[in-house]
């Protein structure tokens, strides 16, 4: 029987088709990598710049890489509003987290527990944000990314590996996963020649 469940499945398939190019994974990988490099080089501006730079270039990349391969769809105004609101909430939380980290590092006296467990708390918060994104986007592989981010702090806390190396390791793995997905996507969906489209529209 053709039911509401089937329509929801179609809606989900349409929505998920825009996550199969790996671009968001690459974005997250680069962002986490930027955190590691910012701690390593003490360049605090790096995550913010990379976040804004990559975020705004994603739409251009999608237009150039994704739409000519799987086509273009315009979501309903309700869906668009919901997606925009979620992006804004996540973006704001990430920026606030960055500010919080800056303030906590900047103040003179910090409670000992905060000093001891700061990497665990910070990575845990980042991982929680990625989990929210995974839940909202229903993109299950982002839970793996969240686990990798948290694992970076765990190995720092208990194995003594430098905190930035945890970020760089997690970011690199996420970036590689994204690149792998992108390669599969490019092979599966070759660019459709304009003549083919023109002849059939």
């Amino acid at each position: 029987m053709r039911t509401d469940t089937e329509l929801k499945a179609i809606q989900r398939k349409v929505y998920m088709s825009f996550f199969q190019d790996g671009v968001w994974d690459i974005f997250l990988g680069l962002f986490i990598l930027a955190w590691g490099l910012s701690i390593l080089t003490e360049a605090a501006y790096l995550p913010g710049i990379s976040f804004l730079g990559i975020y705004f270039s994603i739409w251009g990349i999608k237009k150039w890489l994704t739409y000519p391969r799987i086509g273009y769809v315009r979501f309903t105004s309700t869906s668009r509003r919901r997606i925009t609101a979620r992006f804004l909430i996540l973006g704001t939380v990430v920026l606030l987290l960055g500010l919080l980290a800056g303030v906590l590092f900047g103040i003179g006296t910090r409670p000992q527990w905060l000093v001891d467990y700061f990497p665990l708390i910070f990575n845990g918060m980042l991982a929680a944000i990625v989990c929210f994104a995974a839940y909202w986007a229903r993109a299950n592989r982002f839970y793996v990314h969240a686990a990798l981010i948290f694992l970076g702090a765990v190995i720092h806390q208990w194995l003594g590996v430098k905190w930035e190396l945890g970020f760089i390791g997690a970011g690199s793995i996420i970036l590689l996963i994204g690149l792998g997905i992108l390669i599969i996507f490019l092979r599966r969906y070759p660019r459709v020649a304009e003549e083919v489209k023109d002849a059939n529209q």
């Binding site: 029987m1 053709r2 039911t3 089937e6 329509l7 179609i10 809606q11 398939k13 349409v14 088709s17 237009k63 739409y67 000519p68 799987i70 086509g71 273009y72 769809v73 315009r74 979501f75 309903t76 105004s77 969906y189 459709v192 304009e194 083919v196 489209k197 002849a199 059939n200 529209q201």
Partner: protein
């Protein structure tokens, strides 16, 4: 005047079922357009797995019935053809789904 053949058809096809939408390919196209605002032909080809020719033919029929609207738009500098459901198409699709549910609910249980 209805022929005996068309009377037979009516008996087996309840009036609430729109036979234009009942065709699986056209139902699929309408279902995809129902959950979005609009989509281009490439997107519909990839999602429905119909051939370009099949898609064009079915969309043409839906357009002729006033269920689908076709527009030429520009994505950047490139023109592309975008399809969307009209209000009439949206209502027809909802009526079709209600009709199908009704018909299937009326079927006797197998037990």
């Amino acid at each position: 005047m209805p022929t005996s053949n068309s009377r037979d058809q009516d008996k087996h096809n309840p009036p609430s079922i729109d036979r234009l939408i009942h065709e699986p390919a056209r139902y699929t196209i309408m279902a995809y357009l129902y959950v979005v605002d609009s989509a281009d032909f490439l997107f519909l080809v990839k999602q429905t797995e119909l051939t370009w020719g099949n898609l064009s033919a079915h969309v043409g029929k839906l357009e002729a019935a006033g269920y689908v609207e076709i527009k030429k738009e520009f994505l950047g500098k490139k023109p592309h053809t975008v399809a969307s459901l009209t209000q009439k198409g949206r209502l027809a699709f909802e009526a079709y789904r209600r009709g199908m549910k009704e018909v299937l609910n009326k079927l006797p249980s197998s037990r």
